[in-house]
Each structure stands twice: as structure tokens, then as C-alpha cells.
Symmetry: C2
Subunit: 305 residues, 2 copies
């Protein structure tokens, strides 16, 4: 059993963008400063090493080192849900054991995503071995898993039916899910699973999700718009008119960025906003947003805000 029941993080959680130097090395100090800034700006927590962090483009040792650095620098582990997804069990177990030993709020678990057609039984078996191996390494069932459902990117997902089976089998370990489909019907089905914490992967679903018991959302655009998203969640229960006005602005911001693609567009805007050109860099196979597209996006955002 966990030491004590842990309340889920309530509010907006940001998956921090990862800044790179021109030669591709991680700009560590800038990442740490950005992580602190996101918490200061109102984020309830951080979700490093998911899709938005370009975790797929980081080496295994880089991921291990960066989490150590974030914790050493004072980012509270209990406010981090750490992405541990890889294609294989041994590396994912290693990353999850590290995050659990640090006392992180949880781990964000992709299904193994190389093989395109895998059965729910195969994914169930993967999750079962994952839990057993991490428990064995950390010496107690302290692992808290948030499943990461983003089938449009990973090619593989956790079906609502499979999530129900996993939660029933391991209620102490399977505590939540990030649903990045943007599909309210799927998010709603997940919110119907007893005791499961559900974070939609976009602030656009906040009105429905908060009304159905979600504690907030995990959103890439929190890298740029954390304060307003946090404020809209704060207002939801207290002041419906103020929420509507605040949420309208939040939704306009998100809808304007969305067509430009998540990572390069947000990095380009952050570079423009902070004056630090390193934010423009992405690792291949991603490509930076062009100067023209950045200018156009900035103008569109100015027009809607």
C-alpha cells in the first residue's frame, strides 16, 4: 500500500518544452528556469518527458540526468508526473523506478508503441510486468501510474475497456490517465471509471471535464498561457460568468495556435516572447517553424487577444 492516499494535482499541468542549444545539446539551465517559471505562473504541476518535451528525441541517459537536475534544482517532485514511455520494458522500468524513488507524483506511461497492431491482452501483460518490476526495484508499491493515451501520435492507445481492466486489477497503481485524443466521448467514458483521475490533454475540454469531476488538464499551451488557463480553472466553481469570459480567451488562444502544430510553433512563440533564440531549436526529425509562419501566428494571436 502507498504510505498514504495522495490527492491528485488540481489545476493546469504543463508538459515543459525542452530547449536546445544550436548544436542540439539540451539547454539545461534554461529548462530549469522555464520549469520554475511555469510553477510561478500558476501551474499546479509539470509533466516532463511527454510528447511536447520531445522526450522521444532525448536519449535514455539524458532523460535520467534531466530529471535528477530538475529535482536537485528545487522543482518539487510531488508536483511532477514524469513521462517514462519508451518502446520497451527495461528502459521504461528504469525511468519509472527513478521517478518513484524521487517521490514524484506519478509517472506518465505510454503503451509500447513500435508495433502498430497489438492486442489489449498484450498491453495488459506489459502493464502487469511493468508494475511488478518497478515494485521489486523500489521495494514497495509506491508507483503511481497515469496512463498516456495519445493514439494519433503513438499509433497505439489504452482503450477505455483496457483502462477499466487495469484499474480493477491494480487500483493502487493505476491512478489516472491523460487523454490526449481531444475526443470528449472518450474522456467522458474514462471519467466514468471509479476513482480514476482523468486529465484531458487540452484546455478546450475544461468546461465539460471539470463539470464531470476532472481535477484540471495537462496542456501543451500552458507553456505560453499558464496563468490564464490556471485562472479559468480557479474561477470554474466560484464565478460562472467570470469563468466564461476567461475561458473564451483561453480557447481562442488554443484554437489559433493549433493549426500551426504544437511543438515548433510554441517554441517559436517562446523565443519571440523571451528574446532567447535557443527556444526556436527543435531536434530532428522535427523542423523549426519558419520566420514567416512565426510572424503570421504572432499576428493572429494579437488579433484574437
Amino acid at each position: 500500500m502507498p504510505d498514504r492516499p495522495v490527492a491528485p494535482l488540481h489545476g493546469v499541468l504543463a508538459p515543459p518544452l525542452t530547449p536546445f542549444e544550436a548544436d542540439g545539446r539540451v539547454a539545461e539551465a534554461l529548462l530549469i528556469a522555464h520549469a520554475r517559471h511555469l510553477l510561478d505562473a500558476g501551474c499546479a504541476g509539470l509533466v516532463p518527458f511527454g510528447t511536447t518535451s520531445e522526450a522521444a528525441s532525448l536519449g535514455l541517459d539524458e532523460r535520467v540526468d534531466l530529471l535528477d537536475r530538475l529535482v536537485e534544482s528545487g522543482v518539487p517532485p510531488e508536483r511532477m508526473i514524469v513521462g517514462v514511455g519508451t518502446t520497451n520494458l527495461p528502459d521504461t522500468v528504469r525511468l519509472a523506478a527513478q521517478a518513484t524513488r524521487h517521490g514524484c507524483a506519478g509517472v506518465l506511461l505510454l503503451p509500447p508503441f513500435y508495433y502498430p497492431s497489438v492486442s489489449d491482452d498484450g498491453l495488459y501483460s506489459f502493464a502487469e510486468r511493468f508494475i511488478a518490476q518497478v515494485d521489486a526495484l523500489v521495494g514497495a508499491p509506491r508507483l503511481r501510474i497515469y496512463l498516456y493515451h495519445i493514439p494519433q501520435v503513438a499509433g497505439v492507445g489504452w482503450s477505455a475497456n483496457l483502462v477499466r481492466r487495469l484499474r480493477a486489477a491494480s487500483p493502487d497503481h493505476i491512478v489516472g490517465i491523460k487523454d490526449s485524443t481531444g475526443d470528449w466521448a472518450n474522456t467522458q467514458a474514462l471519467l466514468g471509471i471509479d476513482g480514476l483521475t482523468v486529465y484531458p490533454g487540452t484546455e478546450l475540454l475544461l468546461p465539460e471535464a471539470l463539470a464531470h469531476g476532472a481535477p484540471g488538464c495537462i496542456s501543451a499551451t500552458a507553456n505560453l498561457n499558464a496563468h490564464a488557463i490556471a485562472e479559468s480553472i480557479r474561477l470554474h466553481d466560484d464565478d460562472r460568468n467570470a469563468f466564461d469570459a476567461c475561458f473564451d480567451a483561453v480557447a481562442r488562444f488554443r484554437r489559433t495556435i493549433q493549426p500551426y502544430g504544437a511543438i515548433p510553433a510554441q517554441k517559436a512563440l517562446l523565443a519571440r516572447q523571451t528574446g532567447d533564440a535557443r527556444w526556436r531549436h527543435v531536434r530532428p526529425p522535427l523542423r523549426p517553424l519558419s520566420d514567416d509562419a512565426t510572424e503570421a501566428l504572432a499576428n493572429e494571436l494579437a488579433a484574437v487577444s
Copy 2:
């Protein structure tokens, strides 16, 4: 420049299946014995750590250790093209530097496969950095790259146009490709690229491919049928009638297995054939073939051979 021009491996190359113990650990001694057996059975070379080896389900350190063990056990490095595909540059560079230092015949390079929609320019940039970083680590341009084109699994591929660009820019490094599409039109387009070694990923394309200058094929079914595939390639230039008869049997074998799915079906057959039940094990998310399906497949194979 490489020390000397290296002739491509001529014949059938096998991507060895990876045997696991019941608890999921790699059965190392059995893998090494299987690798030696494949060479004895007539394989011109081995291509470990591609899709068929379940490389996506192996941890990074496992891949490094297994290659060391294969080389230490006497499998000639100059007869191995080593899969180095991951989603990220640092780990792929590490694996490729190791294989190159061992003097392997080459590395098999998947495109980074997490992001579903990446541009040829993004993949070009990935390959360019990959080459520069491995060269820097091994201290000379000894890296020989076989691109790995299997878009139906990886979700991302090397287009013929991109292959042409890469080969033109780095003719010493980009020496070949494994085309696992099974699409003769694509294989033919690749065979038209000057100086490129093209291995189709199936023996079914041998008649066309050998006639157009391919040195052989890389085929998963070589795990079970190495001798016959090797013999058909040997006969191709010398005795057309004997080739036709031999190839007909080879093609019937392949077509019978194909609907059962590659990895679990071949492992089940190998377990049946060798009496070593460990061959049935796959790592999740894959699932072993059922006993009933194994029996049905074995009967079908008996009927066509």
C-alpha cells in the same frame, strides 16, 4: 574514406529471432547458438536488432550487451548488419558507434519513428547529424549505413527521393537499404539509385530483385528456411530450371506463414522444430501464437512442402 571498398554480403541475410526465458530475460546462449546455426545453414549474414529480433522490446543496455556477446562468441562482425533504430539520436549514435568499432558490415537505420508526420527535410537532418556524430566518436568515416524502410510498422519511412538525396550527399556512408514494403515498384526504384545495395525484405521478390542487381534479401523466414532460400539464390545465375523449382518451394513456405504474422508464428514453429519451448516466448506487447494456431500452421506447411 573507408579503409577499402567493402563488397556487400551476397545471399540471404537472417534477422535472428530473440529467445526469452519464461520470466522475460533474454536466453543469451540460445540466441548465440541460433546465430551460429543460421550461418551454418547458409546465411550470408545476420541482421540482429531489427523488427524480427523484437529489438523494440529490448532495453538499450541489453542491445549493447547482446552485440558484445555475439561478437565475443565468434560470430564474425563482418557478417553482421546491426539494427540501431530508436526514436532518438543519442541512443542510435551509441549503438552505431559500438557496431562500427566492432567492425560490423554495417548498421540498419530506422528513421526516428515516434512522430507520425515528419518531413523528408527533418529525416535528412537526422541522418546528417547521425553520420557526423558517429564519425566523431569512431574517429574516421567507417560507418556504413543500410537504411531500414518498413513504413507499415514504423509509421515513417525513407522515400526513394530522400534515399537518393542522402546517397548523393554521403556516398561513403549511405551504402544500402532494406526495403520491407514488399512493393516491387518501390524496390525497383531503389535499385535504380547508383551504387546503392538493395535488399528486399522478403524472398518473394528474389526473381525480380536478383535480375535487377540485388545481392540477395534480408528475410525473417530465414530463421526457419535459410538453407532453401540460400540455395535458390545460389542457383539463380547458374541453372534457371533448378532455380524455378527451388524458388517455388521457398515461396510456398513464405506464403503459408505470412497470414499468421511474423514473430509469434515463427517462434512457435522454431519451438516445435527444436523442442526448446523457450522459443515460444515473446515479450509483451506481443503475444505467443496459440497451440491451436501453431498446429494448424504446421499442418499447412506440411501440406505444401
